[in-house]
């Protein structure tokens, strides 16, 4: 629920700044995936963990930064988020692993740094054409 609240706040901010609906939609999706990852993996089991989000619309894209004091990314690298081609067999379809794929599909300048016990993720959300 904390993620939902955070998403509502950033969406309000983007709306106020005049970001187009489609861009806002992409932003909300990327931010949801990023924050879910932070909560589930970096902060797993740590209710006192800190997560901070900073974002603004620069007229073209949503410039975003998410920092948290949780566990580092494995090998200090971001997942590539590859999705293998889907099997014809229903029972072989994946039920997860879409998150980083979605993040990478809708962002540019995605960077990760680990600095003095903090994870720092920076990314720009760009519009997609439907």
């Amino acid at each position: 629920m904390a993620v939902r609240n955070a998403l509502a706040s950033v969406c309000d901010e983007w709306k106020r700044s005049g970001a187009a609906d489609d861009l806002q939609g992409s932003g909300e999706l990327v931010m949801a995936e990023v924050l879910n990852n932070v909560v589930e993996h970096a902060q797993a089991g740590r209710p006192e963990g800190i997560v901070e989000v900073a974002t603004h619309f620069d007229g073209v894209r949503l410039v975003c930064a998410v920092v948290d004091d949780g566990a580092p990314m494995p090998d200090l690298e971001l997942p590539l988020g590859h999705i293998a081609p889907y099997s014809d067999h229903l029972d072989e379809l994946p039920e997860g692993g879409f998150g980083w794929f979605l993040i990478r599909s809708m962002t540019q300048n995605l960077t990760y740094n680990r600095v003095e016990g903090w994870n720092q993720l920076h990314f720009d959300v760009c519009g997609t054409s439907d």
Binding site: G25, S26, E28, L29, N36, E95, G96, F101, L102, D130
Partner: protein, 114 residues
């Protein structure tokens, strides 16, 4: 979580009245679909017209629900909104799911009722 089922023209239409299928409710959603759909016609159409947001957890729940209902039942999606459509398209899950832009004429009464 509000899911309502109606049977219409040989199919069961499950209308999802949640605005978001996301990490917060994905597991319950999957279970609820399975419970509701496990009796009734083979063809299960999920009416997503009220769902404004779907993240990867929500997508996973849709796939899991489809897999769980198989092989006896087939899960199809209807009335995707912009973000739902975007997620399905980007992940190419729109090649896996049968997606209806609108509910069938047979289910017309349901479409206008909510």
């Amino acid at each position: 979580m509000l899911l309502e089922k109606q049977e219409f023209g040989g199919a069961q239409v499950i209308t999802v009245s949640e605005a978001r299928i996301d990490a917060a409710i994905a597991i319950q959603f999957k279970e609820r679909v399975r419970e509701l759909a496990s009796n009734g016609p083979d063809r299960v159409v999920l009416n997503l017209s009220a769902v404004e947001f779907l993240d990867s957890s929500g997508l996973g729940a849709l796939v899991a629900a489809m897999k769980q209902l198989a092989p006896d039942r087939r899960l199809e999606l209807a009335c995707p909104t912009e973000t739902v459509r975007k997620v399905l398209r980007l992940t190419r899950m729109d090649t896996v799911f049968t997606i209806h832009e609108e509910l069938d004429a047979a289910a017309d009464g349901i479409k206008h009722a909510s």
